[in-house]
Amino acid sequence: MTMHISATIRRHQFSLSVTLSAQQKESVAIRGKNGSGKSTLFAAIAGLLPIAEGSIGIDNRTVDSTAAPRMSLPPEQRNIGFLPQGGALFPHLTAAENVVFGLRARGTNRRECVKSAQDMLAQFGVAELSHRLPHQLSGGQRQRVALARTLILQPSILLLDEPTVALDADGREDVISVLADVRNRFNGPILFTSHDDRDVAALATRVVDIHTSVDGEHTISSIDDSL
């Protein structure tokens, strides 16, 4: 799998090209200073931020392009698993309802969803918490539910934005062990950002650095992916 991004998003100019190998269970850490646009980059790949100019291509398929707007896909058609910082669970839905949200959006019937939710929550070791609301869960448990919610849709790629941020030591270890497990089971590349070197050491099969320079109003971010 390849990913080409040459785009201006907000005040960032991105220029990067990454080759990802799904077969090798790749887990790539995107490392960069604060303000290098890591979160912006992920949100744009997921289709949540409009690009001012340029294009994003995944596997020779354009998913976003200002030159050919008709080829741009809305987020719901990109099949990208995206976990923003903190997991962003739906606060009004139980753990089980959160997990099957994507299935419900695709019109899967309720009974099938109940079964899928139980299977998925069990895989992530939180089956007994299915009726809890997000605020009744610990930070680590929330990330488990958020991962289950993303992976139930079998996305082609997984983007994790700071998966261990704002967790206490136990929560961090918990999430890292889950993520190590996800890396072994998930059939696609994982991209994650982190500014914690311990996460990178524990999870990354490869590290790419975002180099930044400032040009007027823009921060120019480029990734030098020398595989």
């Binding site: 997921a46 949540l48 987020p75 719901e76 698993g81 976990l83 923003p84 959006a105 849709l153």
Partner: protein, 266 residues
């Protein structure tokens, strides 16, 4: 820890509380409790009450139907003139209601910029009808709903909405299954507030809809008429309005303290 306030501050507070509560107390003291049944079963009063309930509920429904899209647009979109648009939408909140009534006459009155065509082409006359009472209440009350809903939409964590989209939700699905349920407590509070404002509407109604008994005479207008004719009904009808407002206020307090911002920030 004991919290002690400066003594002079307490004194001012006590005077203020007396000033604020005495008028209400006066109504309760002077209420003709013995003729309560008589006044409440009086045909004209009952008509005013029913008319008030009907028009204020329709005005509230209208406010919700147009208020959600307006609040959503104001909360999510930055377009040229967005701030002016927002100000215009909530302007009636700070406008003297009578000015609202005058404005409505110039739009929908028989010679109004739209009203003349409604009359010429369809033979529809809005001014001084029950529909006019609804429109007057809507004009004055809808901004309350818009303001509450705008701040509710703004308080939603954008990444939660974003994730709903990456999980396959269309913009509509996300609105109906994520955003509206998240702002439900605020929405209920907004509905109650809007309804209370519509129920108490006076200035715009009397200007645009008039004060015709049985047609456009809502509860506040009935209070005014009763007071002018020196009838005890003014007290009772006022008491009715006070009771409704007080209930609304008590209900709102608990709504606001368990609002979405608290649940969402967990």
């Amino acid at each position: 820890m004991k919290h002690s306030s400066p003594k002079s501050l307490l004194a001012i507070a006590v005077v203020g509380i007396v000033l604020l509560t005495l008028p209400i107390v006066a109504i309760l003291i002077r209420m003709p409790w013995t003729s309560l049944g008589e006044i409440i079963t009086d045909g004209a009063n009952r008509t005013a009450l029913v008319l008030s309930l009907r028009t204020s509920l329709i005005a509230t429904l209208l406010s919700v139907v147009v208020g959600i899209p307006i609040a959503y647009v104001i909360a999510h979109h930055t377009f040229p003139g967005a701030r002016v648009f927002r100000a215009l939408c909530v302007l009636p909140m700070v406008l003297p209601p009578v000015v609202g009534g005058v404005a409505l006459i110039y739009v929908l009155g028989k010679n109004g910029i739209i009203g003349q065509y409604l009359w010429d082409w369809f033979g529809i006359r809005l001014a001084f009808t029950e529909s006019a009472a609804v429109l007057a209440q809507f004009f004055v009350a809808a901004p309350f709903f818009i303001v509450v809903m705008e701040s509710a939409f703004t308080s939603i964590d954008p990444s939660v909405v974003g994730v709903s989209r990456t999980l396959g939700a269309s913009p509509w699905f996300s609105l109906l299954r994520v955003q509206l349920p998240m702002v439900l407590p605020s929405m209920l509070a907004g509905i109650v507030l809007t309804w209370a404002r519509a129920l108490g509407e006076f200035g715009a109604t009397i200007t645009f809809a008039g004060n015709t008994e049985g047609r456009t005479q809502t509860l506040p207008l009935a209070v005014y008429s009763a007071l002018e004719s020196g009838s005890d009904a003014a007290l009772l009808l006022s008491f009715l309005l006070i009771a409704v407002s007080f209930t609304v206020l008590v209900a709102l307090r608990s709504q606001w303290t368990t609002g979405v911002t608290q649940r969402g920030s967990q």
